[in-house]
Amino acid sequence: MADRLPVVLVTGFLGSGKTTLISALLAQPAMGETAVLVNELGEAAIDHHLVRQVDERTIVLGSGCVCCTLRGDLRDELRDLLDRRARGELAPFSRIVVETTGLADPAPVLSTLQTEPVLRHHVAVEAVVATVDAVSGSTTLDRHPESVKQVAVADALLVTKADLAAPAAVAALERRLRALNPLAALRRVAFGAVEPDEVLGARSREPAAASAAPAAPAGHAHADDVCAFTVTLDGAVDWDAFALWLTMLLHARGLDVLRVKALLDVGADGPVLLDGVQHVVHRPRHLDAWPDDDRRSRIVFITRGIEREAIETSLRAFVRLAVVAGR
């Protein structure tokens, strides 16, 4: 990450305040010089920063899987941006913000940033931020599966326009967001006023202790069939058995595993932190120490139509494989 350019992905439904958020963030010195890629040039002015427009264009790869498609538009723009920066044709910048269209599925964007052969060596996803409109957010979640996905993969959920909605409705929306994605930082913002640190640091935080994640029933109360749950394992987990299981799970059910974030005890001093969105898993990171006293492996899943019990039973059977195989 040290020598790769951080990329912040800003997603959120139409009119939920993405551009307002970006404008406000960029006005803060802590953001540094930033290049911005937007799908449409909105009315909100983004002064003094490099703003480029991306026409949405998707390349479907051989697999035909939506989440692994490459966003050709984004690839070309980012490559061009990096080339011209390297040649000194552009003012130097130290961060890139990518704003998606409201209807965009964020998975192909993440896939492009993390797996495209050139880009993955030059950029690193710093945070995925989703704006959710307090007035229409619940309806949007009911009607548009893309918005549920935007919430599920976010590292930070920002509830906008809370002053325009009834307090009870805002609270209900926040409960729903929390149930859909217990991993994300959740807060209200007015006119994009948020500290950059709160947004930018959200991705690198470790998943909280299992007790902090909501109980399974809280995640089930939705027609969209998306639920979040934590599986906890005692004792060291054999990495190969886990990787074998997760690659097989993502092969078979990747489209319905919207998010996996794990802190794994692999028998070393610190845990391994793993983060995946559908079929795309970020390179795992070895942490020097555990974030708290709880040393158990915990794996947070956000799934669509897959029950906790099925995941847990299967994972435990595969973890036992390592024991049977002679470790």
């Binding site: 993502l250 078979a252 299967s314």
Partner: protein
């Protein structure tokens, strides 16, 4: 690109952790065989750098990472490879 086999040498996330060395590789192959057994797919190590999948009809596939392995094994097996499949889990339990 590997000059011998033409494989793209980009490291898969699953290979970023875990023990290295021959014994670790043997145990990894043993686990894979247990899972693939019920699907009629056999696995052998190919020079410590890849695996070869075989079916009962003489077909073989060389694979370099786990993601590719499941896709190719499924094609050879002719049916879905799903770790949530109760029959697979029951078979793994019997092995133990």
């Amino acid at each position: 690109m590997c000059p011998l086999c033409g494989a793209l040498l980009t490291e898969h996330w699953a290979d970023a952790e875990g023990a290295a060395g021959r014994r670790a590789r043997v145990l990894r192959a043993r686990m894979l065989r247990r899972v693939l057994h019920g699907f009629g797919v056999a696995l052998s190590d190919w020079g410590g750098t890849a695996y070869v999948l075989h079916d009962g009809k003489g077909r073989a596939e060389v694979v370099h990472d786990l993601t590719t392995l499941w896709a190719r094994a499924e094609a050879l097996a002719g049916r879905p490879l799903d770790p949530l499949d109760p029959d697979l889990l029951a078979a793994l339990g019997r092995d133990g």
